[in-house]
Symmetry: C2
Subunit: 336 residues, 2 copies
DNA sequence: GACAGATCTGGAAACGGTTGCATAAGGAAC
DNA sequence: GTTCCTTATGCAACCGTTTCCAGATCTGTC
């Protein structure tokens, strides 16, 4: 509707002056500025970033690539990203790209190539070299959350250390028959998360002199996934472990529900520990390693906007470790 | 990087011709078109919709306003919206606006006023007249999901009918001591959902000649919310009902978890029914009224893009009813 | 063979902002 | 009273695209 020319006319100044007055760049007298601001307010003028982006190259908008929306970690990330970006005046445009989506190529070659974003945040998606280069050629900074992409600044917890800590907690309670339930191949979430958590588990077990053969069982990375795995694992009383380390709280909760259904007492007959800090953890009294996705999202926005302020095309590559912490509730105890 | 001028030069034609060849509007000979297309492919040219929007007024982008991201209904809607919009070449920009967010005014007065969207989809947010008018003045069509906004085309299930159906299911099994656990004031989600589901419950009860006094108890609209409500409601064996209608599956699941902890058998001692069709419903064998959010999202996109194609500023106002269906599992049975 | 209509192409003007450059006024330093 | 710097403003060009308009060529009809 109303353009800056209307504001300028109303305020009795040139377009250039109105632009300077509203954007705060360049010299404008206080008197002129207030006239312009008043005129803009009067007709409800809001600058079109699309038009401005033509000449400035800045769009005030950030693209986000994410493989899931409904899983806890990802929805937390998303809420926090949106909040941080909104606070800084940025729009957030969402691309939901499951691991091997058919749309994937189109998103990179078409949507991301449209020059709509000042930067891109990639959450839990392993980008190929080609894809990183494509984004790089656009001259836009890129920040990752939740994994390591070569040459890209990434915010992530130390998955190996978190898994080791969880396993060590069980070992320190006196458990020796411990299993690890983690993500399966189908649900790779693209990232090496599953593998890393398994590595942390194996490391802790071996350091304690415990055998790891046949200790890992895969399942879908969800509550029903953990539930199914629990029914299978706990079905035979003779082969039942005394403790389980679940790769996520959602899996852990599924395991607990399965155990309860089978009449197995947690923690006296079975200890369960997870990773995440899921909002349901408390009602299931689940001991877990908390990560703080909202915080990770804030760090990512900070890194990205920092790079934008410095006009730098790239964020300094490298890894920022997000903190984790053990929260003890009553799903773990010494074995009987 | 590469602009249409580069493509035109490479193909040996004028900018205008290149534009026509790539957009498919106006006359272009087959020979010229293939030359232009080849040139564009060669240098990896992708048109900037920002620049185009300046003259066409179309941005190829849709704004979505949503109060939650992590709750099941909303994340399903979001995934489906993104998928439908992407398929049509539209970007989706997200505004996460909890009910009484401090950011709300800023989103309407600033972000939505920036002329970035061809249309807006509002999910589960009750818009004020002022807000509807503001969007209308921008000349952009608006479609709602999950409630009724005066003068706006909305996709929604019949909440009253769904609640009545759920309650009637319990009554038909022979229950007479039935409670309804639903959303509280704090968690109004802006919409009249809570009130409508309560109305449906009351209607069914009265039609069966049952008293409704003191039959409703509020809780947070989440699994832990239902769990807390369950502990409170089932704590006193003398005052325990034989059946509960939960306003959502998440509440229903919380109730079941609480019942199991208290040693109450579902369904023989307690029947529970919910509304939603949550992915956890099956593992808790929950009887529920399914709604299909992904389908609602598709309908919304269809309505919005339909209006855009017709150049019409408004979508024909009115209500499209999304279907629901009762799925019987084993959380409900006749009372003992 | 003239004419109308359809097809094809290019030049130039727009869209709504920002910014480089020129101009001018005011104040400080010599 | 110059000179120089800082502040303030306007004009015009520019960003990348689409589209209006004019002109050219081709086709078919009478």
């Amino acid at each position: 509707m109303s353009a800056i020319a209307d504001v300028a006319r109303l305020a009795g100044v040139a377009k250039a002056t109105a632009s300077r007055a509203l954007s705060g760049r360049g010299y404008v007298s206080d008197e002129t500025r207030s006239k312009v601001v008043a005129a803009a307010a009067l007709i409800g003028y809001v600058a079109s970033p699309n038009a401005a982006s033509l000449v400035t190259g800045r769009t005030q908008s950030v693209g986000v690539i994410i493989p899931f929306i409904s899983r806890w970690f990802f929805s937390e990330i998303l809420e926090s990203l949106e909040q941080s970006l909104l606070a800084k005046g940025y729009d957030m445009t969402l691309y939901n790209l499951p691991a091997h989506s058919v749309e994937r190529e189109r998103v990179f070659d078409f949507f991301l190539a449209r020059k709509r974003f000042d930067g891109v945040i990639s959450v839990g998606v392993e980008l190929s070299d080609t894809e990183v280069q494509l984004l790089h050629r656009l001259g836009r900074p890129l920040v990752g959350i939740g994994g390591e992409i070569p040459g890209v600044h990434t915010i992530a917890i130390d998955d190996i250390a978190a898994a080791r800590l969880a396993t060590e907690h069980l070992i320190s309670l006196g458990h020796t028959d411990i299993r690890h339930i983690g993500g399966d191949q189908v649900d790779q979430m693209d990232f090496a998360v599953h593998t890393k958590r398994l590595t942390g588990f194996n490391t802790a077990m071996r350091a304690a002199g415990l055998n790891t053969d046949g200790c890992f069982a895969p399942c879908a990375f969800t509550v029903p996934g953990g539930y199914e795995a629990g029914l299978a694992l706990f079905g035979d009383p003779h082969r039942r472990p005394t403790a389980v380390f679940a790769a996520s709280d959602e899996i852990a909760i599924g395991l607990i529900v399965a155990a309860r259904e089978l009449g197995i007492l947690v923690p006296s007959e079975l200890s369960v520990i997870g990773i995440d800090g899921h909002p349901y953890a408390e009602m299931f009294r689940l001991t877990t390693i908390e990560q703080h996705p909202r915080n990770q999202a804030r760090m990512a926005v900070e890194a990205l906007l920092g790079a934008l302020e410095q006009q730098s095309v790239t964020v300094s590559p490298g890894l920022t470790r997000a903190p984790t912490n053990l929260v003890m509730r009553s799903s773990t105890s010494a074995p009987r």
